[in-house]
Amino acid sequence: MNKFQLYLLTLGLTIAGLTLFGYKAFLLKFPLTPETHSRVWNVEARVTFVGRNDPIKVSLHVPDNSRWFAIVDENFISRGYGLATIKTRHYGNRKAVWSKRKATGRQSLFYRCVVRRSRLAEPPAPPSPPEAEYPIFEGAYLAAAESVIAQIREQSADMDSLVAELMNRLNKSQPDENLTLLLGKEPSLLKKVEIASGILAHGGVPARVVQGIRLEEQNRNAPLIPWLEVYDGKLWRSYDPVSGQGDIPDNYMPWWRGPSPMGHIRGGDKLQTELAIGANQEAAINAALERAGLANPLLMTFSLFSLPIRTQAVYRVLLLVPVGAFLLAVFRNVIGVKTFGTFMPILIALAFRETELLWGIALFSSLVGLGLAIRFQLERLKLLLVPRLASVLIVVVLLMAGLSVLTHKLGLERGLSVALFPMVILTMTIERMSIVWEEQGSKEGLQQALGSLLVAACAYLIITVSYVEHLVFVFPELLLLLLAGTLLLGRYTGYRLLELSRFRALIKKNP
């Protein structure tokens, strides 16, 4: 009876999942594979600040159509705020200005746009060479700038080599005294580009700072990237600030020009801006819908694509957890691998996504190893349970911080991602491992640790296949199939693979 119900349920789930999947994949022609080269992106800027109960005015640079990218669609989400978009006097940047009579507490405003790559647009012919706004050097600074421009003029033939030589000098770890004076202590890349544009402008070459973003598949916290634009008499040409070469990657989208910050606030505090970028799958799907001549608003209204980009990015990861869980069930109930904690390997696998496999395994092993060594020392003190767990947690956090500092000093930037390991899970792993070690011997402890790592590594290898991520996100109904499979596993009563060898003695000498 029970079994009948189970089979009926699995059958129902399978049919439902397959039907929906088939409808979307074959009738609506949703893309079955991830697009290799995106042409459309969603970009979202979030502005947060704290109001002082005063009249408030927030301005934010927003991108404009450029030679390479077109803003196809944009919207501003700002309840209760007045909104105006203006063009700035200098540089001709676009700016959104939000204002309100009174605002208190934490406020969030959003700017969202859809960006399409378009090489068709003719370059808007700039009028007379614009007057660039550049840092006005005075006194000693002026002398320094002039001496630098004189030197590099000497050593260059054309504008490309001029810019290359200048950037090369600026990027040296020990620039000469003139540049050191101009740059100040520990200059950021933005500062270097700013100084470069100033020096060039002094030399009669119009130059300006551009701040933009890199259009990626997925980045929930995209950094701003500065680069240099120099006017060659006809066009503004972009230069990479690190190499000084006249080519920047084709996925760099300019956001605004000039050294000013992205946002500005009057009447509030703690202004923060965050950028999120995601490749737009929806476009392909919308196109698919249009192609089929079908409009199915219900399906699209209640799909994951209707969520904000930030949330979509979260679900891209969350939807992988069921895949890991299924894998874990197979490993434990069919193969018989022992792991610490039921879901620990999945969480570790998710952390591996950030650290990458080998680094992840190395970091995880060293953390657990060190933690275990210290835990054994604590064992001698005979601490009570909760304080003991708390002290292991503290030690784990300290170890993580220590490892980060150490690997950073060694120049291994990957090591920084150790901070992404779930520390409570690490603590519980260390605690369980030490108990198994004590009670059932070191062999058993190591076996379970290796089992956990093995499962985590396999889960990592599967969830990082871009197909898998794409399939579960575009076709979440496939998870119904996964659920059906997991339910069936729940009634799998056969032997586990590793039990076979355990019971071998039963057969060998069975008299």
Binding site: Q440, G441, Y492, Y495, L500, A505, L506, N510
Partner: protein, 316 residues
């Protein structure tokens, strides 16, 4: 690999998945688990039913009772302190005598009163209990081992594990401590398990670390053909545990005391599967027979007789 699986199937070896899905999940109701997870409750239940258990001298439930517990020990020089929810024999302290103010622990060390107090505090904080729940400490009678297993025991107390399904004892083994298990009768920790013929109560070959052995690894003495005294009495006790707890599939751990005979040590709602290796036999055929004929078996006597008649090693 498939051949191996087929062979195992042929002799009816019970796997972990099957044990969980078809036996413990089906026949053991979760609400009954606390009865066996807490040794104090098991003991109280058994005493009410008039079944023999090691006599309870006292319980320490909270740290402030520590002051009174030395009164509890007054005049006693021979006792066991154990956690009520302990697992795998952890946290058990066996005191076999006194030397002035000190207690003699069976591993040969001496412990002062304050060391004993500290051990009890640890038990109360849940150091030995699964899941770290706060626990109680039991002080009870120290079992005087029946000499029958003396030649095949290295320190510690051997115990007898009987798997009872719906009240019918289906398989049994005796667990003998070794040097490796450090005096504990737990197969995971390296104790030897020797199967027992259900009909006669004589030992079969043993299992040690998943290998079949016929001699004790430390004493070198023969494990086989030892006659377990009071075998029927042991089976009776085990069988009656079904009515005691209501758990359909359980492992009953018993000891043989020199003076008091068979005593119930503890019950287990998820007994391990190694007992099959110790007995050279799979559990499945026996479990299936019991499942089919359960209607016919009413009293404990019926069930023991059924078990002895059906599950003799000679029949297999």
């Amino acid at each position: 690999m498939f051949r191996l699986a087929k062979q195992l199937c042929g002799i009816g070896a019970l796997g972990l998945n099957r044990r969980n899905a078809d036996y413990t999940l089906k026949y053991n109701q979760r609400r009954l688990y606390p009865l066996v997870d807490d040794k104090l409750r098991t003991k109280q239940l058994a005493e009410e039913a008039g079944m023999a258990v090691p006599e309870l001298y006292g319980v320490v439930e909270a740290a402030h009772q520590i002051r009174h517990w030395s009164d509890l020990l007054k005049g006693r020089s021979d006792f066991v302190v154990k956690p009520s929810r302990g697992s795998g024999g952890e946290g058990i302290l066996v005191i076999s005598g006194r030397l002035k103010d000190m207690y003699r622990v069976t591993n040969g060390e001496l412990a002062s009163q304050s060391e004993l107090d500290y051990h009890v505090l640890n038990i109360l904080s849940g150091i030995y209990s699964l899941g770290g729940l706060s626990d109680r400490a039991l002080v009870e009678y120290r079992v005087q081992c029946d000499p029958v297993f003396d030649s095949v025991t290295y320190h510690g107390v051997p115990d007898i594990r009987i798997v009872v399904f719906l009240g019918v004892p289906v398989m049994a083994m005796v667990r003998l401590p070794t040097r490796m298990s450090r005096g504990k009768a737990n197969l995971h920790q390296g104790a030897v398990g020797a199967g027992i013929d259900m009909a006669k109560g004589t030992t079969l070959t043993g299992v040690w670390k998943n290998n079949i052995v016929t001699e004790h690894p430390d004493t070198g003495m023969r494990l086989t053909h030892l006659k377990v005294p009071k075998w029927e009495h042991l089976l009776q006790l085990a069988s009656r545990c079904y009515e005691l707890t209501g758990l359909g599939y359980q492992g009953v751990d018993l000891v043989l005391d020199r003076d008091r005979g068979p005593l119930i040590l503890e019950l287990n709602a998820r007994p391990g599967l190694n007992i099959q290796i110790a007995n050279h036999a799979g559990l499945l055929p026996r479990l299936e027979v019991v499942e089919q004929l359960r209607e016919r078996l009413h009293s404990a006597e019926d069930r023991v007789a059924f078990s002895q008649q059906r599950f003799s090693a000679v029949n297999q």
